[in-house]
Every structure is written in structure tokens, then in C-alpha cells.
């Protein structure tokens, strides 16, 4: 009896101490709230869209679809956070830049072209290069000039949207090719949002990279002790630089989705405040914002928790203006709950509880 008790306890303890525990609990909590409010929340229906193609719809699909950009950004943000011990606040603005560059290539400087001027893949690759350049700029400031990440990225945060507007002469080109819209919606004949496949591809890529290279080990080592990593032959400057460049690629992919959703761009609104959600996703995943050890999957899960929350609030008819305030309250709860002091206290409490239970028995 006592032995199984012990096993049970260590299992519970393992569960609670796992980094995935907080985001999973948050997801479950949100799910339960929605279940009580309206079980219809979980209904997924197969319908047809305007073009007559089969599409899945429902709140869960919305969450999966609209959480994609955040999930992808969380990958890069996790690496930047771990390596540099700081965050990149320019991702929203660089999405605007990369997206604008993509449009410029697709529309060739003409705001109302009759057909696209370059293949979509070329436009996407250009966006990747632009995103990587932005990342390289941030990375250079942080890794080589040792500027605090938040200050360094403040530059592009401030200037990014203006640069994006300048790339297209402040016009709002519209992509004429309906195929371009597939990335942000549905491919005809496939009822699952394309973004889901894009996220899966990104997750597979980063999983492979983490498995078959030492990126994870090096990044964590640099984040924990830079001196020591250097004396072990690691180049901390390069690792930090690399993390920003990887985030740049994530930005380009997110830009593809964002621009594709509208087939055009709105420089001042596109991906607004997304950097804060991306940072929050990393924090919700239980990763220290001061860098060091990280859990990629917890961050990505954290991104979907945020989207789940947003969708839930919409469901409760919270107006989009008030959304931020409601979100903040929930965020406070989540963050406090995941704080080490609170977790220690909870652990002690649960220990006391199990002890008293034993005494009774």
C-alpha cells in the first residue's frame, strides 16, 4: 500500500515538475470553462466555403488556424531568449518588412497588377532573406556590440513599419493570384487549414535540427554561462547571432501566412503586438526569460494557450478593444501560478495534504 502510495506521489511530482504541466493545465482549464459555458464550442463541422470547397469550421479549428503565426514565432523567440537572456520586440515590425518585401516581389512595384510578377516561392525566399537580414541586424547589435536585446530590437520595432511602407512606396498592393491566398486559408479539396500544415512542417524542421545538431546544447550553455562555453570551444557570439537569424526565418514564415490571409498588407496593423504574445508564449511554457535552459515544445504549446484564450474571450462576447485587459488578468494568474515560489508553496501544501491523509489512514 505504502509502496504504491510512494509511486503515485512520485508520479504526481514528476507531472507537476514537468515544464509542460503549466501550459497543459491552462489548456485543460480553458477547455473546461468552455465546456461548461457551451459544449458547442468543441463542435467541428464540415461545410463549404464561398468557393465551394469543403472546409472544417469550429472554434477549435479557429484556434489551430490563428495560433499558427504565434506558434512559429515562439520557436525563434525561445532560442533568442535562451541564448541571449533577452527578447526580440521587433518581430511584429519585421513581419511587416518581410511581408512588404514579399508583396513587392509578387506585384513588382505595381499596386494593382493583373498577374503575379514572380513565382510565389521566389517571393517567399526573398522574404526569408529579408527576415534573416533583420535578424542578423538585431543579432549583430546583441552579440557583437553587446547591446541589451530589448534596446537593440527597439530600433527595428520603431522603424520597421515605416521601412515596410517605404518598400512599396506606401501603396497597398493586392496579389491577384488566388493561389497565394491558399497559405492563409485552405487549399481546394483539403478541409484542414493550410497553416496547420505549415506549423507541422516548422515543428518537424526544428525537431530535426534539435535532434541532429547541437543547437540546443550550445544555446543553453551560452545562455547559462558564456565564459565557460567559450572555454569549451563554443563561439557564444555566433550562437547568439544564429538565434536571431533563426527567428528571422520564423518571421518570414509568419509574414507569409499574415500577408496571404488578406492577399495584401496594412503596414500599421499587420502582426501588431504579436511580439508580446510571442514572449508570453515562451514564459507560459515555463522558460526563464533570463535565458538558459529551455523547452521548445512548452513554448509552442504556450502559443496555442494564448490563442485559445483569445478565442474564448471572443466567444464570451468581449469586444476586441477590451480584449487586452481581460487577457492581462488571465496572464497575471497564469504567470503567478507558474512562479517558482508559488509552485514550491503548492508542492509543500500537497505534501502536507498527502501526509495528513496517511495519518488518517
Amino acid at each position: 500500500m505504502s509502496k504504491t502510495d510512494k509511486n503515485e506521489m512520485s508520479f504526481v511530482k514528476k507531472l507537476v515538475s514537468n515544464q509542460l504541466f503549466i501550459p497543459i493545465m491552462a489548456l485543460l482549464l480553458l477547455a473546461v470553462i468552455n465546456l461548461i459555458n457551451d459544449p458547442g464550442f468543441f463542435k467541428i463541422t464540415l461545410g463549404t466555403n464561398n468557393a465551394g470547397n469543403p472546409v472544417l469550421s469550429g472554434y477549435l479549428i479557429t484556434i489551430l488556424d490563428y495560433g499558427s503565426e504565434l506558434g512559429i514565432l515562439a520557436i525563434g523567440m525561445t532560442l533568442v531568449t535562451a541564448a541571449s537572456g533577452g527578447q526580440d520586440i521587433s518581430v511584429g515590425a519585421t513581419i511587416a518588412i518581410a511581408g512588404s518585401a514579399m508583396l513587392r516581389v509578387l506585384c513588382g512595384g505595381n499596386s494593382r497588377p493583373t498577374e503575379i510578377q514572380a513565382p510565389i516561392i521566389v517571393a517567399f525566399l526573398v522574404a526569408c532573406v529579408v527576415g534573416m537580414l533583420c535578424g542578423a541586424f538585431n543579432g549583430m547589435l546583441v552579440a557583437i556590440f553587446k547591446i541589451q536585446p530589448m534596446i537593440a530590437t527597439l530600433i527595428l520595432f520603431t522603424a520597421g513599419r515605416s521601412i515596410a511602407a517605404w518598400i512599396n512606396n506606401n501603396e497597398l498592393p493586392i496579389v491577384p493570384d488566388p493561389k497565394f491566398a491558399y497559405f492563409g486559408s485552405f487549399i481546394p479539396g483539403i478541409p484542414i487549414p493550410t497553416t496547420v500544415f505549415i506549423v507541422i512542417a516548422c515543428v518537424i524542421v526544428i525537431a530535426v535540427v534539435l535532434k541532429f545538431t547541437n543547437l540546443g546544447l550550445y544555446t543553453q550553455a551560452v545562455g547559462i554561462n558564456e565564459n565557460s562555453s567559450r572555454l569549451n570551444g563554443i563561439n557564444p557570439t555566433f550562437i547568439k547571432f544564429l538565434s536571431f537569424v533563426i527567428l528571422g526565418i520564423c518571421v518570414a514564415v509568419a509574414a507569409l501566412i499574415k500577408v496571404s490571409r488578406l492577399s495584401t498588407i496594412n503596414y500599421s496593423v499587420i502582426a501588431k503586438d504579436i511580439e508580446m504574445d510571442a514572449i508570453l508564449a515562451v514564459a507560459l511554457g515555463g522558460n526563464a526569460l533570463s535565458g538558459g535552459k529551455f523547452n521548445m515544445w512548452a513554448s509552442i504549446l504556450g502559443a496555442y494557450v494564448i490563442q485559445f484564450l483569445t478565442t474564448t474571450l471572443y466567444k464570451f462576447n468581449v469586444s476586441s478593444d477590451a480584449l487586452a485587459a481581460y487577457k492581462a488578468v488571465v496572464v497575471i494568474l497564469l504567470v503567478v501560478f507558474s512562479a517558482p515560489t508559488v509552485r514550491d508553496y503548492m508542492a509543500q501544501l500537497s505534501k502536507k495534504f498527502t501526509n495528513s491523509k496517511k495519518e488518517v489512514a
Binding site: N214, I224, N225, N232, G233
Partner: protein
């Protein structure tokens, strides 16, 4: 309770998950006494201190203070209120505040603070303790020793009856240690009971009155200093009769391969940006040599230049007679050079990573970014060296920061041995670790050399160097001033070379 006793701990028990850290330990301290608390790493010294200062709560036993009766200490604040103060190895003051601010921070009453009055009080106290600092000076401008003393002054001013000094001397040079001892003797005269935790045997015999020895969480005994000769103390700490510490040399013989005269590594006019003068250096296969000199004489800077840890600005380097370029640590590693840095915390361990990851780190980097070891391979490496070096850790997955200092050092040593270097540089590998591990490391060095590895060994303790090295490079003021080998390898000769007497 005895009249003179200010503190008595009886039957203290403390259990952590998996470990019983203290078993029925008694400890007592008299007024005006300097009492050394000795034991190997993991013997329970720190745990006992932490129980006394309220960082941990004891599971059983009593703590009695003079005039207060039995007390319960639940937090460091409780301890401070009861007159128990602690000065730790790492200075826990704020370097960007002034001396006076540091002394009175958190102790001012009311919302308004009369800094003028406080500065005056601080100056008075500093003067009475003969601490060479002024109240308005910024703390970071003081030497480490003075900072340490300011921490003590702060403790003393809080009307402490029991002062705990936890390894206060490990980052001080000889003169600074002397100054600190002066202050300790002064406090002793004022009737403060001092608990002194250190790894330096010399210091214990210089300044202490009594010794309490702990081993594996249990009490070995309390001794008057005059009743316990050094060798016996070591034997008590280790729990076995140690023939003699100085016997390890020559035990196993030296490397006798055909290529024993080959110069593995040779540097000419080597200079880094760390402020050392250009120097020449070589090491032969299977040789153990060392850099000696006072703290700050440039010993570490020399080996850092060899490893490429600082930026090399001048000089040529040859490995096996062939010119090579070593500009960064990775270059040195590729050439088979390994370097165990002086500052374990700052340059050695990667705190939050596991013992396993810390062990494989160097070899992993050398193997390449795109060739990570499998988990199984990592465990195999880690387990091999945990066993080989007898590293005490709960598992290979334990974060290195939760190991004791000596075991952390062994992990770092394992990291470099795993790389199977031709040339191993050990910069103060024995600093701040217990006697048993020290001897282990010295023995290991000689064994490795016998198998043909070249080793450069640096230590602040000259006798340790004499025991292991066959050739010593002597440094003074960031310059190589001499080289000793064979007959010249004596304490006196080293001293006179360091002091520059032989020249005049």
C-alpha cells in the same frame, strides 16, 4: 550549560530526500574562541552552518544560546536577531554602494536616514577594527579582503555573539589573509565566538583554538588545537590513517617512453592582451611542470594565453615542432590541449546543465555541431567518468550546481579527460576543495603523466606544486623570472626566486 559557552548545539539531525546530512551532531562554542569546523566536502559542515543560521530547519536536536535558553531558528532573520552572523565565501554585499551604506543597509529605522550620522558611526567602527576603508568609499574600490572585512564589520555592529566565517580566505592572498586574521584575533579579545570554516590547514593552525571534525554527517570529535597534529587531523577527516600527504611523489615513477624528450608544446615570445610580458615556454611529453608566483603574478594569464582563452597578440607556438595557430580555445582543443580554468564558477561549470552534459561538453564541441552524441553514448561517457573519478552525484542527470565544490571540480576534470588531451593545463584545480579530493587530483596528475600526458599544474599551495611538478616556472609582476628543477625544487629556493633575492 557551561558559563563560558555562548552556543551549544546538541543532537542535531537533518535529513534531505535520499541523504541523511547530519546525524546526532553536537557542537559548542565558547566566548572569545576561534573554533575551526573541519571536514571533507559533503561531511555536513555547510548543513550544520545552515541549520544554525536558519537556512535549513533541523529535524531534531536543540540549539541553546547563552542568556536566551533554547531557541528555534526558522530564518536567517531569526538568527541575526539572536546575534548569529555569517560572512560567506562569496561576498554578499553590494559593490555599487558605499562602505557605510553596505554596513547599515536594511538596518536603518524610520523613513528618513541621517547619512551623516551613519557615516560617522561607520568610520568610528572601521577605525576601531583597524579596517583600511572609509565610510563614503565605494565598496567596489576596496580590495576583496577589505570587502570581506566590511562584511565582518557589519556583522560585528549587529551585536553578534556568534560569528560564522565560511571560507572567507579562499580568494585572498597571503597578506590579506594576515589582515583578516588580525581582525579575527581582535574580535576574539572582545569575546565574540567565531566559527571558522576553511580548507587551508595552515590557517587553522595559525589562528584557531579548537577544532571540531565532521565526517559523513556525523561528529568525529572536538579537539584542542595543541592535541591534534596536522597528520592526525587529516586522518580524522578522511577516516583513515594517511601515511603522509607528501608521500605520493615518485610512487608510480615517471613516463619512460622513447619520446620523453620530445617537446610537445613550445611557445616563443607568447603574449596576450591580459597584461603579461612576452614569455617562452615548453613542455615535454609526460612532464609535469608548473607556474608559480604570488597571486596576481600572471600565472593564470600565461596558461590562458597558451590555451587561447585571452586574445593572443604576439608570439609563435609549435606543437610537436610544427608551427600552429592558436587564437581561440577551439584551436587549442583541436591541437589536443585542455584547460581547467581557475574560477570554477565563472569559467568552468555550466550551472543548470546536468553532470552528463557538463562532462561531454568539450568532446562534443570538438566532435562538431552536426554530430551530437546519442543519449546512450552520453550516459556511457558520463557513467564511465563518474565511476573513474568517484564523483559523488545522485545521478548523471543532476544539475551540476547542486554538487559540492570538489565534485564539481571532478566533473570539469572529467570533461577534459574525456577529450584525451595530449597536454592538460590545470589552473588551481585544488582550490576550495577538500583534502581527500586534493590528494586524489594530485595522484591522478602523476598517473596521467606516467602514461605520457603532459601536464601543467598551477596551485597557490607551494607544497602541492613541489609534490607534483618536476619543473617550475617562477613568475613575478607578470613576468617570468626564473625556472627551477631538480635540486633547486625547494620551498626556500622558490621563495627567494619569487622575492628576487637570488639576483641581488
Amino acid at each position: 550549560m557551561d558559563e563560558k559557552k555562548v552556543l551549544e548545539m546538541k543532537g542535531i539531525d537533518k535529513t534531505f530526500p535520499n541523504v541523511r546530512a547530519l546525524r546526532n551532531v553536537d557542537f559548542s562554542l565558547c566566548e572569545g574562541e576561534i573554533h575551526a569546523l573541519m571536514g571533507e566536502n559533503g561531511a555536513g559542515k555547510s548543513t550544520l552552518i545552515k541549520v544554525l543560521t536558519g537556512v535549513y530547519t533541523k529535524d531534531a536536536g536543540t540549539i541553546t544560546l547563552k542568556g536566551k535558553g533554547e531557541v528555534q531558528i526558522h530564518s536567517p532573520q531569526d538568527a541575526q536577531k539572536l546575534g548569529i552572523s555569517t560572512v560567506y565565501q562569496e561576498i554578499t554585499l553590494c559593490p555599487n554602494l558605499t562602505v557605510a551604506e553596505n554596513m547599515y543597509i536594511g538596518r536603518t529605522e524610520g523613513a528618513l536616514t541621517n547619512w551623516k550620522k551613519i557615516n560617522e558611526a561607520a568610520d568610528k567602527l572601521l577605525k576601531s577594527l583597524e579596517i583600511p576603508a572609509t565610510a563614503t568609499q565605494q565598496l567596489s574600490n576596496c580590495s576583496i579582503a577589505v570587502q570581506q572585512m566590511v562584511a565582518i564589520a557589519r556583522a560585528v555592529d549587529m551585536d553578534c555573539k556568534v560569528l560564522i566565517l565560511d571560507e572567507p580566505t579562499s580568494s585572498l592572498d597571503e597578506q590579506e589573509v594576515e589582515k583578516l586574521f588580525g581582525l579575527m584575533r581582535d574580535l576574539k579579545k572582545r569575546g565574540v565566538g567565531i566559527i571558522f570554516v576553511t580548507h587551508f590547514l595552515d590557517q587553522v593552525y595559525e589562528v584557531c583554538d579548537k577544532i571540531t571534525v565532521l565526517r559523513d554527517g556525523g561528529l568525529v570529535g572536538e579537539y584542542e588545537i595543541k592535541d591534534l597534529p596536522r597528520v592526525q587531523l587529516v586522518a580524522k577527516m578522511l577516516g583513515k590513517e594517511l601515511d603522509d600527504l607528501s608521500d605520493i611523489k615518485g610512487e608510480g615513477g615517471t613516463y619512460e617512453g622513447k619520446d620523453k624528450d620530445e617537446k610537445i608544446f613550445e611557445a616563443k615570445d607568447l603574449q596576450s592582451n591580459a597584461g603579461i610580458k612576452p614569455f617562452d615556454f615548453y613542455i615535454k611529453k609526460g612532464e609535469v611542470n608548473g607556474f608559480t608566483g604570488l597571486l596576481g603574478s600572471g600565472r593564470s594569464e600565461c596558461v590562458r594565453a597558451i590555451f587561447g582563452a585571452d586574445r593572443v597578440i604576439n608570439g609563435t607556438v609549435k606543437m610537436h615542432g610544427k608551427s600552429v595557430k592558436i587564437n581561440k580555445p577551439l584551436d587549442a582543443m583541436k591541437n589536443g590541449i585542455a584547460y581547467l580554468p581557475e574560477d570554477r564558477k565563472k569559467d568552468g561549470i555550466i550551472q543548470d546543465l546536468s553532470v552528463r552534459e557538463n562532462i561531454v561538453m568539450a568532446l562534443q564541441v570538438l566532435t562538431g555541431f552536426f554530430k551530437p552524441f546519442s543519449k546512450a553514448q552520453q550516459y556511457a561517457f558520463a557513467d564511465e567518468y563518474i565511476k573513474k573519478l568517484n564523483i559523488k552525484t545522485a545521478s548523471a542527470d543532476t544539475p551540476i550546481k547542486s554538487l559540492s565544490g570538489g565534485n564539481q571540480q571532478k566533473v570539469i576534470l572529467a570533461r577534459w579527460l574525456l577529450m584525451h588531451p595530449e597536454y592538460l593545463i590545470l589552473d588551481e584545480p585544488t582550490r576550495g576543495i577538500d583534502v581527500g579530493t586534493k590528494v586524489d587530483i594530485q595522484k591522478l596528475v602523476l598517473e596521467l603523466a606516467k602514461e605520457g600526458m603532459s601536464v601543467t599544474f598551477i596551485s597557490s599551495e607551494t607544497d602541492e606544486m613541489l609534490r607534483t611538478c618536476s619543473r617550475l616556472v617562477v613568475m613575478r609582476d607578470r613576468k617570468v623570472v626564473g625556472e627551477l628543477s631538480g635540486e633547486d625544487l625547494t620551498q626556500n629556493k622558490i621563495m627567494s626566486t619569487i622575492a628576487g633575492e637570488s639576483k641581488s
